[in-house]
């Protein structure tokens, strides 16, 4: 069961990076906010359709839960704005590493303390090992993104000259 969930998460990551690539392509033509609005509004439509036909009945509705549980989008949308503002000033390589660092650090904290109504999963030696592996992975992601930025700069410089 857990293995299935891990595979599902990996698939989710692949879907996310496809979505990011497509959204980025659209954003370069119509602007980031228009692209983000399309993603969210079409997403809401698709989810509404799925709810109509596939969602089973639950005793509790979105209107019954404490309001803070509905704040998820208020964490996701600022991320888009922050990236728009930050990437051109600090570079994609630094921004990528900073996002992943924040994501992983916060996820370990929420797991450990069981914040937001999640089951607590305490920090352990194996989790520390995982953090070290992730630190090494982040270093390689950083140096790879940095190399990429330089090569695209070179390409744009040469095309500007010709």
């Amino acid at each position: 069961m857990n293995i299935l969930m891990i595979i599902l998460a990996v698939v989710g990551g692949a879907v996310l990076s496809m979505q990011a690539a497509i959204g980025g392509k659209l954003g370069s033509h119509v602007g980031v906010f228009r692209s983000a609005f399309l993603t969210f509004s079409v997403g809401a439509l698709v989810t509404a359709l799925l709810i109509f036909f596939f969602e089973s009945k639950h005793a509790v509705t979105l209107l019954d839960v404490p309001k803070w549980q509905l704040l998820g989008a208020l964490c996701g949308v600022p991320y888009i704005v922050i990236m728009v503002v930050a990437v051109q000033r600090i570079g994609a390589a630094v921004a990528t590493v900073a996002v992943i660092f924040g994501q992983l650090a916060m996820s370990m904290l929420i797991d450990h303390f069981g914040w937001l109504g999640n089951e607590a999963i305490h920090f352990s030696m194996t989790r520390l090992g995982a953090v070290i592996c992730l630190g090494i992975a982040l270093f390689f992601i950083y140096s790879s993104s940095k190399a990429k930025t330089i090569s695209t700069e070179k390409v744009s410089q040469t095309s500007a000259r010709s």
Partner: protein, 144 residues
Amino acid sequence: MQLLLILLVVAGGMGLSVEAGLLGPLGSDVGDLWATFSIFGVGAALTFLLMLFFSPRNSPSYFTQPAWTLLGGILGPVYVVILTVAVPSIGIAMTMIGILAGQVSKSLVIDHFGLFGTAHRKIDSKRIIALIFIIAALFLMTKG
């Protein structure tokens, strides 16, 4: 200034984990699709306001763009539903590391085949090393 921006981006990344942390329990209470709808419904309202006030005035219509570039809204819910389903059973950290593994491997494939109109690039050995360490981290996480 640089440092402030970096801290802001770190906070943005933390926000993504908080979002997942909110989604998991919410999905268990009201249903996974309703939880997903809360993200996209509120997100659509917020981004509509952002677009209305901050978008460049004369950006081209969606209908002048190739249809496949509009598919982001179909893929978005897939990702959010997966978050909602996975978080309660494997925890947020493992979900996030799994997602990172998927992102890195997918970006390798996108680069390799030059998909979605990006430039065709040679496969990047540094990304492969990164992926190996991410998978090692996932493996360690399953050990508890």
